[in-house]
Amino acid sequence: METVCLNRSDDAFVKAVEDESGQRVSRCYQCGNCTAGCPMSFTFDYSVSRIMRLIQAGQKEQVLSSGAVWLCAGCETCTQRCPNEINVAGVMDACRHIAGRERKFGARAVSAFFKAFMDSVRFNGRSHEVGTMALYMLYTGRVWTDVELAPKILPKGKMPLLPHRIAGRREVAEIISRFKQGLSDPDLVRAGLDAQGKSAKEAVS
């Protein structure tokens, strides 16, 4: 059995998850309702209620390297059913954000798919299904993914081989690039707002 050392709690991690999600994880009393209704549980290494408990105990490493945070489908069933009104799916999303920033990808195929999708958006301004699949195969080496579906869908004319590129695709790429540069970092933006407030006050006085 795996044991958790509770006196080695990373409090900064608990705060980071709470800030990122806007949720108080300490409100979870481990009723297990989220896990009971979770459709993806059968793919998880840690169940969602266990992830909640690990966050409470500040077990950063286990949470961020788990496959569960990446395999959460975001179906919102846990959020809907939590008796303490915790946005559990939002907490899982927040863990994914933090894991991504720390370059911890507990379910490689999932994070590779997300990357393929976002790259398609960055190139074209819209997601392009064929392009996303090609990038996904490239990133994972899983070149046979869903190939048996091709003869079913290609004759339907539903998968254009060329992307619909929008005129503003550079603007979309810039949004993603500014994000990668960290321009939406809350501390940075807050500091900017404070400086603006200060200069406005000075202007008044």
Binding site: V172, L183, S184, D185
Partner: protein
């Protein structure tokens, strides 16, 4: 009701795997007098990959969509796709916080100036158009078609954000399909997850989750599963081969609700675009027509029996009236005439046996 004019965000899949949803949505809206003004040069909302990366990034992509709408004077927007709907709606909710809004603007460099709203096409159909008006448009009823409505996760969840119907047992689509003449069967998996985009990275997800939905739909006796989400549709329709390989042996067509509306409104076949579905829907319609013929034969039989009953009753009433007349025109009072009439009726009843 006056005509509706509203901004329209088709979503990326409408240009690809859900083009039948896109076509039928536009056709049905035209028919119902809903003017769709497509947002010029719209971009992808980022879907699950964006909100899994960062909330501000996801909201920034959504914010550019709204900003593009502003260029055309569009504030209120509708979209057929629940995933787009959730991202756009969550972005608007989050941007009510000034710090979050400033973070988004740091990415877009385009502050929003107008008030914005985003709703689903389904929501507009049931709330603004209304099922009565939809019923009034039906020219080719779906009578005899047994359907289950599958809403998926995001049309109604999270409840606080979506504010539409019941989060776990919605009925909006049920009512709409009933208005088209279909028989809507009780379906316990209306809002269970189909596996979403995880069907690509994980092969075991679809057979289990989407498989369970198809299996239950077959179990309750449905001819088809009606959907409102492009990703659900792809998992349930395109991946049926994978589901069958996983051991669940069901073949069910999976049309969008707008396609069934197009058919019920007798719009051209190109508008309903059933030929874009992977699993053929025609056997289900053939079954529907047979059943409708049976139902109509039953109805004719019942109507004939009813007419015969009415004729006998009229005959008896006429006889009773005659008897009452014979009893004496002295006008002994309405009382005795009434009593005799009742007696006459009882006699006639006895005679039948």
């Amino acid at each position: 009701m006056s005509s509706i004019n509203v901004g329209y965000f088709p979503g990326c899949s409408g240009l690809g795997t859900s083009m039948e949803y896109e076509r039928s949505t536009r056709a049905v809206c035209r028919e119902l007098g809903i003017g769709l003004r497509e947002i010029p040069d719209w971009n992808c909302c980022g879907s699950t990959p964006a909100h899994s990366t960062d909330s501000a990034l996801s909201a920034a992509l959504a914010s550019r969509v709204f900003a593009q709408g502003e260029n055309a004077g569009i504030g209120d927007v509708i979209t057929p796709c629940p995933s787009c709907l959730k991202n756009l709606r969550v972005a608007l909710e989050h941007m009510e916080d000034p710090l979050f809004s400033a973070r988004v603007e740091a990415l877009t460099e385009r502050p929003l100036k107008m008030q914005h709203s985003i709703r689903s096409v389904l929501q507009v159909m049931v709330e603004d158009v209304g099922t009565e008006r939809i019923r009034g448009r039906v020219r080719r009823s779906l009578k005899g078609l047994k359907v289950v409505p599958y809403y998926g996760c995001l049309m109604t969840r999270p409840e606080k954000v979506m504010r539409f119907d019941d989060p776990e047992n919605p009925v909006a689509l049920d009512r709409l399909l009933e208005a088209l003449g279909a028989e809507v069967l009780p379906f316990p998996l209306k809002t269970d997850c189909c596996g979403g985009s995880f069907s690509i990275p994980s092969r075991k997800v679809t057979p289990r989750l989407a498989g369970r939905i198809l299996d239950m739909a077959g179990e309750v006796g449905a001819d088809l599963v009606v959907v409102a989400c492009p990703l659900c549709q792809m998992n349930l329709d395109l991946r049926q081969g994978q589901i069958r390989a996983g051991g669940i042996d069901r073949v069910l067509p999976v049309p969008y609700f707008t396609q069934l509306m197009a058919r019920a409104f007798a719009l051209p076949e190109a508008d309903a675009a059933f030929n874009k579905l992977v699993e053929d829907i025609e056997p289900a319609f053939a079954c529907m027509q047979r059943r409708a013929a049976d139902i109509e034969a039953e109805e004719r039989k019942a109507a004939a029996a009813e007419a015969e009953k009415a004729r006998l009753a009229a005959e008896r009433a006429a006889k009773a009236a005659e008897k009452a007349k014979d009893a004496g025109p002295d006008g002994a009072g309405a009382k005795s005439a009434g009593a005799k009439k009742t007696k006459g009726k009882a006699d006639a009843g006895g005679g039948d046996v």
